[in-house]
């Protein structure tokens, strides 16, 4: 076993979602320490020193982000991004369902560091059960005085509300999330101004992913030094890896950052089904460009994945085995982004649509190899030309599939076209067919 269970240490404990069990296992001790034994600046510098990077995909240093929040007595907000919608990601679901108090404690600790007084957990509407669990846990925490006015007798007050979304991938983008939280369509905003200065209700806002916030109590309790000693280089700590797709044991595994990808896919998840070989994998959710078998020995870190031309993202590994044709996969991928594009920026709205149309042509046998060039051009024109990275998130994996498996795409075009021609001939009927052949011979 190469799991390093820190966040998931007690995850199988029955009743962990209740405050009694959570406190018996040492819960809310970190919060007490942060409130009563530490100054807010110390909490912030501890988070900064830990090197904890955002677990929601972008990998931005969490402490640094919190330090951008201006000082002053105005309303400041903390938003927990629990809109986990990236295909392949399901780690936050596990944390919220089994260990909601860890998230609540993390939110309060982050609010101390950022000086925030109001917090919202934006949870996707599909996670109805997890939202109920979180609501119940929050009720317990309020009753015990761990959330609310003058927490544990200190000067810090912090209110927390669970806000349920209604189903839109784009609300996982931080500014889209803010608009959705303000009750609008979840369209991303132009940055700058960044949310740290002008976010929710135009106030300073810190936005963090569920897993990032869940790490905060551990860092406060055991120290930044301990946290930084885990992992490798600038990728400190542990990471929950969600493995799915064509593997024998899909699931969430917590690992120390820096172990080889092979260990995760073959060691923990059991590798592709019996008799199958790995064809490619998405190392960080469907938005990450695919990597192939030659990348299996790379360490799973933010840096190594970026160097290989992909990204760690949410560390949601989707494995594709050699039985999978890639054109339908690319098509399904593109359809997802076409559906979820909010439509605000033209390159994304039109680019995702034309990618789907071109891939459909390929699948139906109406394409020529030149369509691959057009497809690649469309992707190039999306990347970097929109307010958010949703379009890029389609362009990069689709582009990488074509790059790594161009031959298969070309073969698919040919095979599908031949198939189509044969069908058309059959549809013409035997008599006509003979006539056509005769005409051809003459």
């Amino acid at each position: 076993m190469t799991e390093t269970r820190v966040l998931l240490r007690d995850i199988d404990e029955p009743g962990l979602n209740t405050i009694d069990v959570y406190e018996r296992l040492g819960g809310y001790r970190a919060l007490r320490k942060a409130l009563l034994d530490m100054e807010p600046d110390q909490v912030l510098s501890e988070l900064e020193a830990s090197g904890l990077r955002g677990r929601g995909g972008a990998g931005f240093a969490m402490g640094k982000k919190a330090s951008f929040i201006p000082r002053g007595s105005m309303d400041k907000y903390l938003c927990c991004n629990a809109d986990e919608s990236e295909p392949g990601a399901f780690k936050d679901r596990l944390l919220m369902q089994k260990n909601p108090h860890l998230l609540i404690e993390g939110c309060v600790i982050a609010s101390i560091a950022a000086g925030a007084n109001k917090g919202f957990v934006f949870i996707r509407g599909e996670y109805a059960h997890q939202a109920d669990v979180l609501d119940a846990a929050l009720e317990e925490a309020r009753a015990k005085g761990h959330v609310g006015d003058r927490i544990m007798g200190s000067d810090h007050s912090f209110s927390l509300v669970v806000h349920r979304g209604q189903g839109a991938y784009i609300c996982g983008e931080e500014t889209g999330l803010l608009d959705a939280l303000e009750g609008k369509r979840g369209n991303p905003r132009l940055k700058p101004p960044f949310p740290a200065n002008q976010g929710l209700y135009q106030g300073p806002t810190l936005i963090n992913n569920v897993e990032t916030l869940c790490n905060a109590p551990l860092i406060i309790e055991r120290g930044a030094e301990w946290f930084a000693s885990l992992g490798e280089g600038n990728s400190t700590g542990t990471k929950i890896v969600s493995v799915s797709g064509n593997v024998q044991r899909p699931g969430n595994y917590e690992i120390e950052l820096g172990i080889p990808v092979r260990e995760v896919i073959y060691g923990l998840a059991g590798g592709p089904p019996e008799g199958r070989e790995l064809k490619c994998f998405f190392p960080g959710g469907s938005s990450a460009p695919v990597l192939t078998a030659e990348h299996l020995d790379l360490p799973l870190t933010y840096e190594a994945m970026a160097e290989a031309g992909s990204m760690l993202g949410t560390a949601s590994v989707i494995v594709v085995d050699d039985s999978q044709p890639l054109v339908p996969l690319a098509l399904r991928l593109a359809e997802f982004y076409r559906h979820e594009s909010c439509g605000k920026c033209v390159p994304c709205r039109e680019g995702t649509n034309w990618t789907v149309k071109t891939l459909e042509r390929i699948d139906l046998g109406e394409a020529t190899p030149m369509d691959l060039e057009i497809l690649a051009q469309v992707q190039e024109n999306i990347i970097g030309n929109c307010l958010c990275v949703l379009g890029d998130s389609m362009a990069m994996p689709v582009g990488s599939l074509i790059k790594h498996f161009r031959e298969e795409f070309e073969q698919h075009i040919e095979a599908a076209r031949r198939e189509r021609e044969r069908e058309e001939m059959t549809a013409l009927g035997a008599g006509e067919l003979a006539a056509v052949e005769e005409a051809g011979a003459a």
Partner: protein
């Protein structure tokens, strides 16, 4: 995939309903409804008023409020929108702009129950489409009505793939042979596939590795020893 009609015709994505209906330009746009003129069910009024009180700005309650109205009306019908608009003191147009954006808010008549079958990337790799087709066909055969059945984008349960969300309860892994029982249970309003829901007690993935050895602990407490030794 749509049928190709004429040779060379473009396969367009299905257009949203009402796109080609003429707009009544004579009619004035709906304004913020007078609360006294709209009858609202008492439960809904209470719920939305409580929701609005949670936020510094009442507009923030729009999403959960529409969700609540939808649970009563089945979909975001004009009646539902006018009730929410009257309570929140916003225009129905504002609410309709919100309702048309989000996947879980229905803008066509339907009952409040639903089956979302995830067919996104990870589920696609495990042949979720055939599960969806089987459920759809079974629902047609058994005459299951008033339940919205649709393909859904990633539901965040790729470990259970292929899976579906039945009224918010995640069930999986599914295969085609589960369709008759799933549809029958919904039709007869029984529990759907008991024991196979993510929230059911003792739920386990069929392929989950048994946990024997206690998981490894990082032996790196700054004060020496494992951090467990340092427990208070």
């Amino acid at each position: 995939m749509q049928e190709v009609g004429d040779e060379g015709a473009l396969r367009a994505a299905p257009l949203p309903p009402g796109w080609d209906e003429a707009v009544d330009v004579e009619r004035d746009p709906a304004t913020v409804p007078d609360p006294a003129s709209v009858a609202v069910p008492e439960g809904l009024r209470k719920e939305i008023e409580e929701l609005m009180s949670r936020y510094p700005d009442r507009h923030s309650a729009a999403l959960p409020a529409l969700g609540a109205a939808q649970r009563i009306h089945g979909w975001c019908s004009p009646t539902a929108l006018s009730q929410v608009a009257a309570l929140m003191q916003v225009t129905p147009a504002y609410l309709s702009s919100v309702a048309t954006f989000y996947d879980m808010l229905r803008t066509e008549p339907s009952g409040p129950r639903y089956i979302y079958v995830c067919t996104s990337v990870a589920c696609h790799l495990r042949d979720a489409k055939s599960v969806y087709d089987a459920i759809l066909e079974e629902a047609r055969d058994q005459g299951l009505e008033d339940v919205e059945i649709r393909e859904f984008e990633c539901l965040g349960a790729c470990d259970m793939a292929p899976m579906a969300s039945v009224d918010g309860r995640y069930v999986g892994p599914l295969d085609e042979s589960d369709a008759p029982e799933l549809v029958a249970a919904l039709r007869e309003r029984r529990d759907v596939l008991p024991g196979r829901g993510l929230e059911d007690p003792g739920y386990r993935l069929p392929a989950a590795a048994p946990r024997e050895a206690p998981p490894e602990e990082p032996d790196v407490h700054p004060a020496g020893g494992t951090w467990r030794d340092q427990e208070l």
